[in-house]
Symmetry: C2
Subunit: 213 residues, 2 copies
Amino acid sequence: MISNKNCIIRLSRYKNALVRFKTLGFVKIFSEYLADAVGVTSAQVRKDFSLFGISGNKRGGYQIDALITKLNSILGKNEVQNVVLVGAGQLGSALMRYNTFEKEGIKIIAAFDIDPSKINLKSPIPILSLAEAALFIETNSIKIAILTVPDMAAQQTFDILIRAGIKGVLNFAPIELKTSSDCIVNNVNLAVELENLIYFVNVTAKEAPLIKI
Amino acid sequence: MISNKNCIIRLSRYKNALVRFKTLGFVKIFSEYLADAVGVTSAQVRKDFSLFGISGNKRGGYQIDALITKLNSILGKNEVQNVVLVGAGQLGSALMRYNTFEKEGIKIIAAFDIDPSKINLKSPIPILSLAEAALFIETNSIKIAILTVPDMAAQQTFDILIRAGIKGVLNFAPIELKTSSDCIVNNVNLAVELENLIYFVNVTAKEAPLIKI
DNA sequence: TAGATTGTTAATCGATTAACAATC
DNA sequence: TAGATTGTTAATCGATTAACAATC
C-alpha cells in the first residue's frame, strides 16, 4: 500500500488537476481526461486509483468532489502540516515568502540559522538560532524540515535534525545525505535540473540536422 | 546514446561528488566509492560510464580530473549557458539571486514580467517587459527558459516562449504544459515534493507501532 | 604472480501499458 | 439494449543489479 514515490507524486498531480477541473465547473471526470491533463495514460490513472481502493462508476467516471476529498485524505491534506526551515539564506528566505506552501496547507512555523545577524523573532516566520532548533522541534513534534544550508554544512545540520526527531527532509544541498532508515530525504537540485535540460536541448539540436538531411 | 533523464541526472551527481573528492585531495577513485557518495550501486556507475564511452583502468579505478572534464563536456558545462527567466514574482526573484546557478556556469541574462511595476533595467539581471521577450530570445538565440509565472498564466506564457524558439523549459507551475515535440519541459513542484515527504512520513509513522508489537 | 577492479552480459526487478471481461 | 468506461490481469518494457571474464 505504500507504493513508490512516482505514484504518490502522480496522486498530487491528479489532485491539482481535479481542483482545476472543479473550478471550470466539472462534476464528473473520466480517467481518459484526467490522464490527459496530467500527461499519463488512462490505464495509469485507473491503476493508481485501484492501488488506493478508489473506485468510480463503470460508464460514469469519477465524482470530482469525492475524488478530491479522498486524495486529500491520502496525502495528509486534511490538516495543516507544520514544518521548519533550516538555513535562512537566499533560497531559504525565498521559500519562507513562497505563498504556494500556505495555499497547499503547508506552514513553515519557524526558521533557523547559524548566523546571529539573521535572527529575527518578529518576522512573519520567526528566525531563531540554530542552537534552539532541536528543542523547538522536539517540543512542537515537528517531523518535516526544509534544508537550505550551504553544501558544506548540510550533513552536520542534517544530523542535528535527525537527533531532534525529524523524519522527513526536503534537501536543497547537492549532497547525498547519509541518513538513518527512519528519516526520508527528498532531494531538490535546481542546478541539476537545469543541467539536465541543457543536455537534452543540446543533443536534440545536434541530432536535428541529421533528421533534416 | 541519449539515454534517459535519470541517467543524466546521475551524471550531474557524479560530477558534483567528484569535485568534492578532488577538493579533498583525491586523484583516483573506484566505482565503489563514487557510488557510495551518490547513493547508487557501483554497477550503476560503471554502466552509466560505459553508456558514454567513459573508461577507467582495470584495477586502477578512474582518474578524477579526466572524469570531471569528460562529464563537464557531456553536460555542456564547458561554456556558460545563458538562460532567461519569465515571471519575476517571489520565486522568480529568488532564483535571480540564487548564486548556485552562476557557480554552475548557468547565467540568467534577463528576466521578463507582465507587470510594468516590476520592470527594472538597472538591476543586476535586467527585468524587461514580457512583450519584449520574444524578440530578446530570438536575437540572443536563447534556448532555455525558467518559467515562474502564476499557474493560470503558465500555458499562454509557455506558448509565447515556444514561438520565440525556446527548446527547454524549467517549469515551476503545477500544470502539465502542452508542448510541441521539439521543446522539453522539466517540472519542479516544491509543494508536491513536500506533500510526497509528508505522505511517506505519515505512513511510516502509522506502520511503526505495528512493527514494535 | 595473485588480487582487485573494470566492463559487459544476462538475470532480475518493478513499473507501465494493453487488453478485455465486467457492468452501469 | 447497445455502447462506453471501469477495474484488473497479463504482457511488455525498461531500468537496475548481479555476476563474472578480462585484465591491469
